[in-house]
């Protein structure tokens, strides 16, 4: 930890002493696990679809560098720059998504991809972090200036984004964006009654999707009754965990993974289960748990509504995406193809996660967190200050 002196005033030095190094290490550990699992999980998939043995692994390694640079870079930005970056990304993603609808390539029944420099990019991946930051910005602005209709603007952002996503169609992303927005309005103090109402609307929406769209229909049917249709993926996934047992078959020794579709991406968790076993699966789960808890814990001490909303939304989408991936692989949720953040192969997903994690780290940096520490207030007095303000709040006649 003596990499930089505490009094180092350089950008890097300041960053090093303010950033949440525990969380940063957790992201790095996840990337390492991802490299190992993509290396062992991807060759059979690559061969199956006619690419070379190392196709996915090489690409994963190529993308991982920029993704980690994005993570570090974003985590060094000030809030102002994070907001500017988000605004750019948000607008850019929305425009690209519009474009994709017109000229994009159809892959597996959806138009999501644009080709850039030989890599296919999925613009909707970048809408996640940028939407979270934009929405948090607008909502926190309304808290500052009550005449600013921030909440309404967020609703507009949300509807616009979701419309474009449904047109692709991309229900996984729709679900995530909805979750971000729900988490943020929940944090922003949205009344419980209305939240319940929204939940009902959400359930109705799922029901309508179930009725109206065949592939959603069949997927949910399959979850509820595995015998009703083709449940090959999930059978294989469960078999992988069963084959792995407590300590796994050993790295590279798995056999079920070889016939597991999407073993490098949507089912990489099963590869971990087979080769590294239950204990390692616990380890992966606890890393995600650690990141979430550390993140939420830091937000508990924050006085900045923007930080709470933005980082809260980003942490939620991070944790939720991991949860959907793990839950699908374990057959606790209906199968929904989602990548495991920082672990799965997936260029756009990895880059977007780099931005997400970078933004979380940047927003929760110590300096940014309190803003009062510069005034020489200790944590103790900070808390006392908070209590005092609460006193003002509850005093009559205000």
């Amino acid at each position: 930890m003596s990499l930089f002196s505490r009094t180092d005033k350089s950008l890097i030095g300041q960053w090093w002493w303010t950033v949440d190094r525990g969380m940063l290490s957790a992201f790095m550990v996840l990337s390492l696990i991802g490299v190992a699992l993509v290396a062992t999980g991807s060759p059979s998939v690559a061969e199956r679809i006619g690419y070379g043995y190392y196709h996915f692994f090489v690409r994963h390694m190529i993308i991982l560098g920029p993704a980690l640079l994005l993570l570090l870079g974003t985590s060094m930005l000030s809030h102002k720059f994070i907001r500017r970056l988000a605004a750019l990304l948000f607008v850019g993603s929305l425009l690209t998504m519009l474009m994709v609808l017109g000229v994009g390539n159809d892959i597996k029944g959806a138009r999501r991809w644009v080709h850039v420099l030989g890599f296919s990019l999925q613009p909707s991946e970048f809408i996640k972090p940028s939407f979270a930051i934009m929405a948090a910005w607008m909502m926190s602005l309304q808290k500052e200036k009550s005449n600013f209709k921030g909440n309404a603007i967020t609703a507009g952002f949300y509807l616009l984004t979701v419309t474009l996503l449904i047109l692709q169609p991309d229900f996984g992303m729709t679900f995530l964006v909805t979750s971000i927005w729900a988490a943020q309005i929940f944090l922003a103090g949205f009344p419980f009654r209305l939240l319940v109402l929204l939940l009902i609307v959400g359930i109705l929406g799922v029901f309508m999707a179930y009725q109206g769209l065949d592939h959603v229909h069949s997927r949910i049917d399959r979850y509820l009754d595995p015998a009703s249709g083709d449940s090959y993926q999930i059978d294989k996934s469960l078999e992988a965990f069963q084959n792995g047992g407590i300590i796994g078959t050993g790295p590279g020794q798995g056999t079920v993974k070889m016939s597991l579709p999407d073993a490098h991406a949507d089912f990489i968790f099963s590869v971990a289960g087979e080769e590294m076993g239950m204990l390692f699966v616990f380890f992966i789960i606890s890393i995600y748990g650690l990141i979430l808890l550390r993140g939420y814990n830091r937000l508990m001490d924050s006085d900045d509504m923007f930080v709470v909303l933005a980082a809260g939304g980003l942490l939620t989408v991070f944790g939720l995406q991991a949860a959907v991936h793990m839950g699908s692989a374990l057959h606790l949720f209906p199968t929904k193809g989602m990548t495991l953040p920082f672990v799965s192969y997936g260029g756009s997903s990895l880059l977007s996660m780099g931005i997400t994690a970078g933004a979380i780290l940047g927003l929760t940096r110590n300096k940014a967190r309190s803003g009062l520490s510069r005034g020489g207030l200790s944590l103790q007095t900070n808390r006392a200050h908070r209590t005092a303000r609460r006193g003002v709040n509850t005093s009559p006649g205000v």
Binding site: S44, E47, M278, I285, G289, L292, M300, S302, L330, R390
Partner: protein, 582 residues
């Protein structure tokens, strides 16, 4: 003033609202954190459920033997046996070399509905399984069925290659399969089991329940000796264009069978496809007239009933005529012979005279004591009933003295020889290694020590000066007896079809091992001047087997001038100069 107050008031209000909003947010952060932790704990519990609770269930299920017989010929999904059947135990030789083992093998089937790219899958499979053509696989993969067998019992390498194809429509069924790593080597004694793990022959059959309980069985066999014996027998069978043979190596001190070869033999993995003659176990199921080898027993019987010296003589000048029979010598000496001469020249007349002296009842009892006339009591249960004359008249006593009219199995014969030479204790052959290896199999005395000693000297004489010269191995004091019998073809003795044998024992001064080789229908060659007798055919093979044995077992030879090397030479005083080859 008022303005500034209002401004401050507003600021306080905003500040207050903000902090109350933050407090609310903090409360809700706790809720969200709790929600995630709860969900992640559920994941961990589910992972435990799959990996530990269901993981065991799956491995037990896969461990259950898939009933391969149910698969044979049927294209339906196979049934499985209940999971409580343990893996069948291994069979090893005395040194632990695997003779039979059970491995979990994978059989490949396809669900054509799930095949993503039929042509690619067929191409990949055709490369992995060269015995199935591309077209054949393609035809299977385009079928409408949900289950088509591609290949059974894959090697791990093949299985890995199939997995590497990553084709979702290809799946494996696992089953236990019996493997015999030594192949045909020892196949008649080890036997074989069917696909359901039921032993059908040999030790596999005799110890079926024990093996099915998962226990390992160690045999007395030594595969190194087994190989040497088989190699020499195969060479002899080739040289003399014989139709088969049987060979045994036994530890005469305890009855351990160290090697047992029946030729032609078979691949136990394909026992069902083997010819009847190949599967036939000559060692225990074949009863053969052993010819002159039986003189060991008749002369021992004579010594048991007559306390006489080696100088006792028998007049072999005239053939014995009794009823329709005339007993002649093969190479008649046409003179009066001493006992050593009778034995070394293998005189039928002399043996018959000794048999007459012993008497019918005594000889019958003696053969019975040596377990030659009752079915073999053995760990391999496929045993033949020996053929004995019925009714047993005097003529049968005479012929039985030189191995005519009595047919025994090779295992019985070598056991009886062992009993005579080991000091006189009855040897019960055994194939399963005893806990206490040194212990003799019985302590029943069948001949006196004195008789046993005389027989040892006589046996040594046969090799130093008689019909078994070809069996000698310098420094190892080999003794033995040749045997040549005519085969009975359609009820008549056929002079052209012989069974030539030799039983060798070494070292003769303190017998430890017996080697028996019997060759079925050898045809004389130029090298042997047309002879195909035991001395020409089997004795040299026994010699080569012994030479291999001493190298494998590390037995040092005696020096040429050591006293034990001259063992049995005293008997030469009873031998007049003469010819001798039988």
């Amino acid at each position: 003033m008022i303005f500034s107050y209002r401004l401050r008031r507003n600021a306080v209000k905003i500040e207050g609202e903000r902090s109350s909003a933050l407090d609310l947010a903090r409360g809700r952060l706790v809720l969200m954190g709790g929600f995630f932790i709860l969900m992640y704990i559920v994941f961990a519990v589910r992972a435990f459920d799959l990996a530990v609770i269901q993981g065991r269930a799956i491995s037990a299920d896969n461990g259950a033997t898939v009933e391969l017989s149910a698969m044979e010929g049927s294209e339906d999904a196979p049934g499985t046996l209940p999971a409580d059947i343990a893996r069948r135990g291994d069979i090893t030789d005395r040194n632990g070399a695997l003779l039979a083992t059970t491995l979990r093998t994978a059989s490949l089937f396809a669900d054509p509905h799930l095949i993503s790219d039929t042509a690619r899958a067929a191409g990949g499979l055709a490369k992995i399984f060269p015995d199935i053509s591309y077209g054949e696989i393609l035809q299977k993969l385009q079928s409408d069925k949900r289950f088509v067998w591609i290949s059974r019992n894959l090697s791990p390498e093949q299985q890995y290659s199939v997995l590497e194809l990553g084709e979702p429509g290809l799946e494996f069924k696992h089953a236990y399969q019996r493997f015999y790593p030594q192949g045909a080597l020892g196949s008649h004694l080890v036997g074989y089991a069917d696909v359901d793990g039921r032993g059908l022959a040999g030790i596999e059959r005799g110890f079926n329940n024990y093996l099915n309980s998962g226990e390992t069985l160690r045999l007395s066999l030594d595969m190194r000796l087994q190989h040497a014996l088989r190699r020499e027998m195969t060479a002899v069978i080739d040289e003399f264009s014989a139709i088969g043979g049987a060979g045994l190596i036994m530890d005469v001190t305890n009855g351990d069978i160290l090697a047992g070869v029946s030729l032609p033999d078979f691949n136990p993995h394909r026992a069902g496809e083997a010819l009847e003659t190949e599967v036939f176990n000559r060692l225990t199921l074949g009863a053969y007239e052993m010819g002159s080898v039986f003189k060991i027993f008749s002369i021992a019987a004579f010594f048991e009933t007559h306390d006489v010296g080696m100088n006792t003589t028998f007049d072999t000048r005239d053939p014995i005529r009794i009823g329709r029979f005339t007993i002649r010598d093969y190479h008649a000496e046409n003179r009066i012979l001493t006992i050593p001469e009778v034995f070394m020249y293998s005189s039928n007349i002399g043996s018959a005279l000794m048999g007459r002296a012993v008497g019918t009842e005594n000889l019958q009892n003696f053969y019975e004591d040596l377990a030659l006339t009752t079915p073999l009591d053995f760990e391999v249960r496929e045993v033949a009933r020996p053929m004995v004359p019925s009714p047993w008249r005097e003529v049968n006593t005479l012929t039985a003295s030189y191995g005519h009219g009595v047919a025994t199995t090779p295992v019985q014969t070598i056991s009886a020889v062992a009993s005579v030479v080991n000091g006189g204790y009855l040897i019960k052959p055994r194939l399963v290694l005893a806990e206490d290896e040194g212990k003799a199999s019985t302590d029943v005395r069948v001949v006196s020590e004195k008789t046993s000693n005389k027989m040892r000297e006589l046996l040594r004489l046969v090799v130093t000066a008689g019909t078994g010269k070809n069996a000698d191995v310098a420094g190892y004091r080999v003794g033995g007896k040749t045997g040549t019998a005519e085969k009975i073809i359609n009820g008549r003795y056929d002079g052209n079809k012989k069974i030539s044998s030799f039983v060798g024992v070494f070292p003769m001064d303190a017998p430890r091992y017996a080697v028996f080789i019997m060759i079925d229908e050898p045809k004389g060659t130029k090298r042997t001047y047309g002879y195909a007798t035991g001395g020409w055919v089997a004795a040299p093979a026994v010699s080569r087997v012994i030479a291999s044995m001493v190298a494998i077992l590390g037995i040092p030879p005696s020096s040429p001038d050591s006293p034990e090397n001259a063992y049995g030479q005293d008997l030469k005083q009873y031998v007049s100069a003469g010819k001798g080859e039988h």
